[in-house]
Symmetry: C2
Subunit: 258 residues, 2 copies
C-alpha cells in the first residue's frame, strides 16, 4: 500500500463517537480497538470525567495518538454536524421507525457512501443507559449486533472493536497480517516415486496381507495426498521411512550381550 492510498483511506474511515462515556478505561480500550482496525478519528461527547483522562491512557496500550487527537463536543448534535451518514448503536429495540442493520450490513452500506464523498459516523452510547431516543432520532439507521439474546450486553470498547473489525475486513478484503509460509509443492513424479519406494519397502517386510494390498495402498496414498505435499514434506517422509528401516543406534556403553 502506498502512503497516499493509506492516508486517503484513513481520512475516510467512519468516525467513532462516544456519547457521554463514563469510564476512562473504556475510552482507552476503544482507542486500542480503533487502532487495531485503522479507524483514525474519535470524538467524545461530554465525557463524564473530563478530558484528557489518565485512565484512558492507561488502557489504550499505546494507541495514545487517537486519544490525543480526539475532539470533545458539548452534545451529540454538534458531534455529528459535519457527517452525512450516521448510525446509532443500540442493544435494545427502541420503537423508532428506523432501519436496523448489523455491523456487516452497516459497513457494506457505508463503504459506497464514503466512496461517493460522504462522511460516516457511528454513535456509541453511555455504558449503562446507551443513547437517548432523541439522539437516536438524529441518526439515519440503527446499528445493533448479532448477540445471544440471553446475554446481549456488549462492553463499549467491544462494540467499537466489532465495528472496526467489519470495517477493516471489508475495506481490506480480509487481508491477514501474514500468510502461510510458502511451500514448494512436490511434483507428482516426486510423490509417486516416494510411494513406490515406501510400498516396496513395506512389501519387503510383509506389511500387506495380499488380499488387502490394493485397498491399503490406495488408502495410504490418499492419506498422504489429502492436503497436498510439499517437496520438503516428501523429503521428510522419505527420511523418516529410511530411518525406521535402520537398526536402532547403540547408545554409548550399551554393548551387545555376550
Amino acid at each position: 500500500m502506498s502512503t497516499e492510498s493509506s492516508t486517503s483511506s484513513d481520512t475516510r474511515a467512519p468516525v467513532v463517537i462516544l456519547v457521554e462515556p463514563q469510564m476512562g478505561e473504556n475510552i482507552g480500550m476503544a482507542a486500542r480497538a480503533m487502532a487495531n482496525f485503522a479507524l483514525p478519528e474519535m470524538r467524545l461527547v461530554a465525557p463524564r470525567d473530563g478530558w484528557p483522562n489518565p485512565a484512558a491512557t492507561a488502557t489504550a496500550a499505546g494507541a495514545t495518538h487517537l486519544l490525543e487527537s480526539a475532539t470533545v463536543f458539548p452534545d451529540t448534535r454538534a458531534a455529528i454536524a459535519d457527517l452525512t451518514l450516521v448510525y446509532a448503536t443500540t442493544a435494545r429495540e427502541r420503537g423508532q421507525m428506523k432501519r436496523v442493520l448489523g455491523p456487516k450490513e452497516a459497513v457494506a452500506e457505508a463503504r459506497p457512501a464514503i466512496a461517493g464523498g460522504g462522511r460516516v459516523g457511528i454513535l456509541f452510547g453511555r455504558e449503562r443507559e446507551g443513547l437517548w431516543n432523541d439522539e437516536i432520532a438524529l441518526a439515519d439507521a440503527i446499528l445493533t449486533y448479532p448477540v445471544d439474546p440471553a446475554f446481549p450486553s456488549l462492553n463499549l470498547a467491544q462494540a467499537v472493536l466489532l465495528l472496526g473489525y467489519e470495517w477493516f475486513s471489508q475495506s481490506q478484503e480480509g487481508a491477514l497480517p501474514f500468510a502461510e509460509v510458502e511451500r514448494v509443492p512436490a511434483s507428482r513424479e516426486m510423490v509417486v516415486s516416494f510411494f513406490d519406494f515406501l510400498e516396496a519397502e513395506l512389501d519387503a517386510r510383509g506389511f500387506y496381507p495380499p488380499e488387502k494390498r490394493t485397498t491399503m495402498t490406495r488408502n495410504m496414498r490418499d492419506m498422504f495426498l489429502r492436503r497436498g505435499l510439499s517437496e520438503q514434506e516428501v523429503r521428510t517422509f522419505r527420511g523418516v521411512a529410511s530411518t525406521l528401516m535402520r537398526s536402532p543406534r547403540k547408545l554409548a556403553g550399551d554393548e551387545p550381550a555376550a
Copy 2:
C-alpha cells in the same frame, strides 16, 4: 428456537482454551465475550494466579456460569486431548508450515467439521508471549486476525470476542436481536393521492416556476419515494402539509394589534 436445538448447538460450539492466562481480568472479559456469542465452554491451562480468581469474576459482567464451569488443565496437550480440530491463535508469523486462516475462514471450516461430529477448540496464548511454537505444532492450523499491521496487538478477550462474533454470525446467519419496527407500506394510490394534494396546494401558492414544474415535481416525488413510504409516514406528511397551510395559532394573550 427450541430449547433442544439451542442445547445441541451449545455443546457443539468451539471450545475456548486460554493457555497460561496472566490477568484474571482478561479471563473474566473473555467469559463475557463468550456469553455474548453463545460459546459455552472455557478451558484454562495453568492460569498464572490460580483458579478460581476473584479478578475474573469482577470483569465477567455476570457471565460467571462460564467461569464456574471452566476446566483447568496442567498443559496444552491435556487441554486439547479430546478435540478433533484445533486452531492456534497467533499475531505473528511463526515460520511453521501450517495453514493460516482468519476468523471468518476458520469458523467456515469448523462448522462442517462440527456438523460431522467433530469437536473444535481454539487456543489463545499468554497475554505477552502468546503460544509457544511447540503448542502451535499441536494445532491443525493457525488462526490470525485481519488487523492493521501498524497496530496489531489485540487484547486477549477481544481476540476471543471476534472469534465468537464470527461463530455466532455464521451459525445464526447474522440474526440480530431485534428488527425494524414493522411498517405498513403505503399503497401507491395513497402515495400518489398525497402527491396530488401537495402539488395542488403548492401550485395554488405559486411554488413552481412554470418552466421548472415538471422537473421539480419529479424530483420531489423521488425524494419521498426513495426509502419507501409507510401508511403512517404518508399520514404524517399530509398532516404536516395541512398544518403548514394554517395561520399560526395565536398564543394566549397575544392579541392582534388594534
